[in-house]
């Protein structure tokens, strides 16, 4: 009798433990937020600075490319997580469309009805053991909310050599309009029937230096992500628009360490690559960098993020992101990317300390990535460094908007860096652009 009682207690205890463990590991359930102290056994706390002398304390919380960068002089200022939320209307659209997303035989994202995806995060509750988990995380990132259109009136690619000095700079602008899967601006979700096959159009144009001034690039992305982009460029010296070959997305963008394919960590037609989810864990990232950067005006008026080693590395706040999905990405056709053997992209699920730890509140924000060359060696580390939410210059009515303070890439092999500070006052969302603005005629008009 006593033996039966003991066995029963053991069995109930085992079931209880299994239940608790199961809750923690149910795919899609986000679990509790852990602090930096908990993750490092109390060895690191907010306010500490991670540098080459103590990077080992956090080496499991940052990608290896960043361990290398810290070893070369980068510093991470550890901070408490700040507020972050996913816009309410985006959460509603995600809820409404939950369960409707499917991946077709070509790895395209569609609705169950066979149409192109029409809004919200398609797979908010992605299952970690799903063989297509990596692809689904990438589609979540692709459809994360960044406005139905946006404009950066100025971003400044810096070219920084091994000595940390500025070799040269460029001033450029970047605008985009989404034509399908629009969530807020009318007409939605599709701008017009004639655009139903297009995902977005974007327009990047160079304002300085003089020899590049007027260069503009018009890019068109299709919902059928087996199709390459269409790309046109206005060449000022020729006074005409030239069609560009879009297959080569990994050529250096105006000579910087970033390529077109490195934007948003991996900017390629999604179905042309293959993806594998390799990790999901808390990591450190630059979420609330803390600098409302301004790149316009005189040197005194500019507000740039702090750097170390000259202008090579950002020195901003890093905080724990409770859910970071690591996706290993490789091109289906190696010729599509002759310089990388693979790229590991890290995408945040829930961010900050305010959003509920629930699937529909996952924001799917890219954090950073690491690329490896053809022989498998570490080659390049890219980042999206975020300011956070809200415009301090317009505190009312912009709480749904997040801001990217600085994009950039660092070439780990040749010790060359290309940080791109963004002029945050000039970054606007949901401007109300029309598709006609993103046209060859506009390229010519702007380019002179």
């Amino acid at each position: 009798m006593r033996k039966v009682m003991t066995m029963r207690k053991l069995f109930i205890g085992f079931l209880s433990i299994a239940f608790i463990v199961g809750i923690c590991f149910i795919p899609g359930y986000a679990g509790d937020r852990q602090t930096i102290q908990e993750l490092t056994g109390g060895k690191v706390k907010p306010g500490d600075v991670i540098n080459k002398s103590n990077v080992a304390l956090v080496k499991d919380l940052i990608p290896d490319g960043y361990v290398d960068m810290v070893g070369k002089g980068m510093e991470l200022v550890i901070a408490d997580p700040g507020p972050w939320h996913t816009p309410g209307f985006f959460v509603e659209v995600t809820k409404k469309n939950m369960g409707r997303a499917v991946i077709d035989e070509k790895d395209n994202l569609r609705t169950k009805e066979g149409n192109w995806w029409d809004g919200g995060a398609p797979f908010p509750d992605v299952k970690l053991d799903d063989p297509q988990a990596g692809l689904k995380v990438m589609y979540n990132d692709l459809h994360s909310y960044e406005g139905d259109d946006f404009t950066h009136d100025e971003t400044n690619p810096f070219y920084v050599g091994s000595d940390g000095k500025l070799e040269r700079t460029i001033k450029m602008s970047w605008d985009r309009i989404y034509l399908t899967a629009r969530e807020k601006l009318d007409p939605k979700p599709t701008y017009a029937e004639k655009y139903k096959e297009l995902m977005f159009k974007q327009f990047a144009y160079v304002q300085e230096p003089f020899d590049l001034k007027g260069f503009g690039n018009l890019g068109i992305r299709y919902n059928d992500s087996t199709q390459r982009d269409d790309s046109y460029a206005y060449i000022p010296a020729m006074r005409r628009v030239r069609r560009l070959a879009s297959a080569q997305r990994f050529d250096a963008f105006v000579g910087s360490d970033a390529t077109l394919g490195d934007f948003r960590q991996l900017d390629v037609p999604t179905a042309t690559w293959k993806y594998k989810l390799v990790s999901m864990k808390p990591m450190l990232a630059m979420i609330h960098g803390g600098v409302w950067s301004k790149t316009k005006g005189t040197m005194e008026e500019k507000v740039l993020p702090p750097f170390t080693e000259g202008y090579k590395f950002l020195r901003v706040k890093w905080e724990v992101v409770p859910e970071v999905y690591g996706v290993e990405c490789m091109p289906k056709d190696p010729k599509d990317c002759p310089i990388y053997s693979k790229k590991v992209v890290f995408i945040a699920g829930v961010i900050g300390n305010t959003a509920p730890m629930e699937p529909v509140h996952r924001t799917w924000r890219t954090l950073y990535s690491v690329a490896y060359d053809i022989s498998g060696k570490l080659m390049k580390s890219c980042w999206n460094s975020w300011y956070g939410y809200g415009d301090p210059e317009q505190p009312q009515g912009t709480e749904d908007i997040f801001y990217e303070m600085c994009y950039g890439c660092y070439d780990n092999q040749i010790d060359h860096s290309s940080p791109w500070p963004v002029n945050l006052p000039g970054r606007k969302f949901n401007v109300g652009f029309t598709p006609e603005r993103f046209s060859i005629g506009y390229l010519q008009k702007f380019g002179k």
Binding site: K194, E208, P209, R228, M238, A252, I339, G441, K445
Partner: protein, 514 residues
């Protein structure tokens, strides 16, 4: 231009630089609405080819081959006033000083800036020129964009050749069309007064980006300008004195464009005077071009004792009205060949040629009248970036290939009789073909940009131009260019590349931009 004016302009230029804002930026005023930028540039071209035979007629035998093709200093300013998203003003102002004559005693005084026309907004003398090269207003009203003023318009898909790119004439007094290839014709195209209206057509839904463009060029015609007598780049024999007609406008063009099934397509029509003239020589007989001495004709009497004591021949440049009808398309084949294909086609039903007549027993008379013959031109081009990681692990190589053909679709019997010429006596063949090849890549974050350009004329001519640009910081740009032209067929009358065998040169250019 007086020396004091030159000094004043240079001082103003340096003041603009010194008082400008810190750093590399455009100079900005009025809260960023008014911007000024531009560059200071010095360009030196060393002549390494043979003597220009077109300048030989009045040259004593003792005079040596000149060594300096060009020593040109330039200040260019671009002023832009963006009043709003819908209205802006733009102006490009140039000051150029040409000092090659002062450096080389074998170079006679020549007119460095021969191009003149009403409304050119230019002040000049033999060695200096100040010009408002462009001046226009942009106005946007919904789907309609208007550009009014002195401007350039470039149609077409082709590099180097002019098929649909016939709106603006070229100033060829200081370079030819293949020069500094990646700079296109921007520095050579002469801006003209015109109305440009571009309309995004909203009701067409089966084509993306449907646009209708209308061009109207009122006023006097302006044609291509060749180098003047005695200039290093003179391509007309000095024995010929050219008088250019200046017919009245207007010239009108229409272009319809759009993207259909991911191919960009244009349909073009331009009714205009022929930019490149046909030359009539009244009452002439055949003369041997290599000697350059006319045997008879409408001769300018000798002015007196001096180098020009040989007689010169009057030639009258005509620019008849003609139609340019064409289309172009480009397509990015990104799946298999991963290249961009572009095609441009032009039909000129009434292209003017020079026609000679033969009187049995008397002789042949060239350039006696104008004959209009239907002519077709087309160009097929391929652009394909590719990786050669052993030579450049971080940047692609750009590969470009073009084949250009021109053929006369009527009047073959006249061509066979060899009495049809073009542009001062060049023989016209039924079919002419030219191939071009370009290769480039970039190193050190695009601070070093080598380019190789090669053109081949199967009739026996080539043009080889290796070049390289170097960038230092945001301001300094250095440029090297070598040009070698030659081939088996050196007879300029055959209108092939080989006839420019004397053009060989090395160019060095330094630019400070702001």
């Amino acid at each position: 231009m007086e020396k004091k004016h030159k000094i004043l302009i240079i001082l103003i230029a340096f003041m603009v630089l010194l008082v400008g804002q810190e750093g590399w930026c455009t100079l900005q005023y009025m809260d960023g609405k008014f911007t000024v930028n531009g560059f200071l540039q010095s360009q030196f071209r060393l002549h390494i080819g043979g003597q220009n035979p077109n300048n030989n007629q009045f040259r004593p035998l003792s005079e040596g081959n000149h060594k300096v093709n060009m020593f040109r200093n330039m200040l260019q300013l671009e002023l832009n006033y963006a009043a709003s998203d819908t209205f802006s003003l733009f102006s490009k102002i140039k000051y150029i000083n040409e000092s090659s004559g002062g450096l080389d005693s074998n170079l006679r005084q020549y007119e460095a800036f021969p191009l003149e026309y009403p409304g050119d907004l230019k002040l000049e003398d033999d060695d200096n020129m100040a010009q408002i090269q462009e001046l226009y207003a942009d106005l946007t009203m919904g789907p309609l964009w208007l550009r009014l003023g002195k401007q350039q318009v470039s149609w077409g898909q082709t590099d180097g050749f002019r098929l649909l790119d016939v709106i603006n004439p070229l100033d060829l007094s200081w370079r030819l069309i293949f020069d500094a290839m990646y700079e296109g014709h921007d520095n050579v195209r002469e801006s003209l007064w015109m109305v440009r209206a571009n309309y995004n057509i909203p009701c067409i839904t089966f084509v993306d980006n449907p646009q209708l463009e209308l061009l109207i060029l009122p006023g006097k015609f302006v044609g291509d300008q060749l180098a003047s007598d005695g200039a290093p780049y003179n391509v007309l024999p000095t024995v010929v004195k050219v008088h250019e007609e200046q017919p009245d406008g207007p010239e009108v063009g229409v272009k319809l464009s759009g993207i259909w099934k991911r191919a960009e397509i244009t349909l073009n029509y331009f009714r205009a005077h022929s930019d490149y003239g046909v030359y009539l020589v009244p009452g002439t007989v055949v003369f041997d071009r290599t000697w350059g001495v006319p045997l008879a004709g409408d001769i300018i009497p000798p002015a007196g004792i001096g180098r020009e004591d040989l007689m010169r021949l009057n030639a009258y440049g005509h620019h008849p009205l003609m139609s340019h009808i064409g289309f172009s398309f480009n397509y990015d084949e990104s799946s298999f060949t991963k290249g961009v294909y572009r095609f441009e086609f032009l039909y000129e039903p009434d292209k003017p040629y020079e026609r000679g007549i033969t009187i049995p027993g008397i002789g042949s008379f060239t350039n006696a009248m104008i004959e209009k013959l239907g002519t077709v031109k087309y160009c097929l081009g391929i652009d394909r970036p590719f990786w050669l990681r052993a030579l450049n692990p971080r940047r692609t190589f750009g590969f470009g290939f073009q084949v250009f053909q021109r053929f006369v679709v009527e009047g073959k019997d006249k061509l066979d009789e060899n009495i049809i010429t073009l542009s001062g006596g060049h023989k016209v063949q039924t079919l002419t073909t030219t191939f071009t090849l370009s290769l480039d890549t970039q190193y050190k974050q695009d601070r070093i940009h080598p380019i190789l350009f090669f053109a081949w004329d199967p009739r026996g001519g080539f043009w080889l131009a290796p070049q390289c640009e170097f960038q230092y910081g945001d301001h300094w740009r250095f440029y090297l260019l070598g040009t070698w032209v030659g081939g088996e067929d050196r007879n300029a009358a055959n209108d092939g590349l080989g006839g420019l065998y004397w053009w060989d040169e090395l160019m060095f250019r330094v630019t400070y931009q702001f």
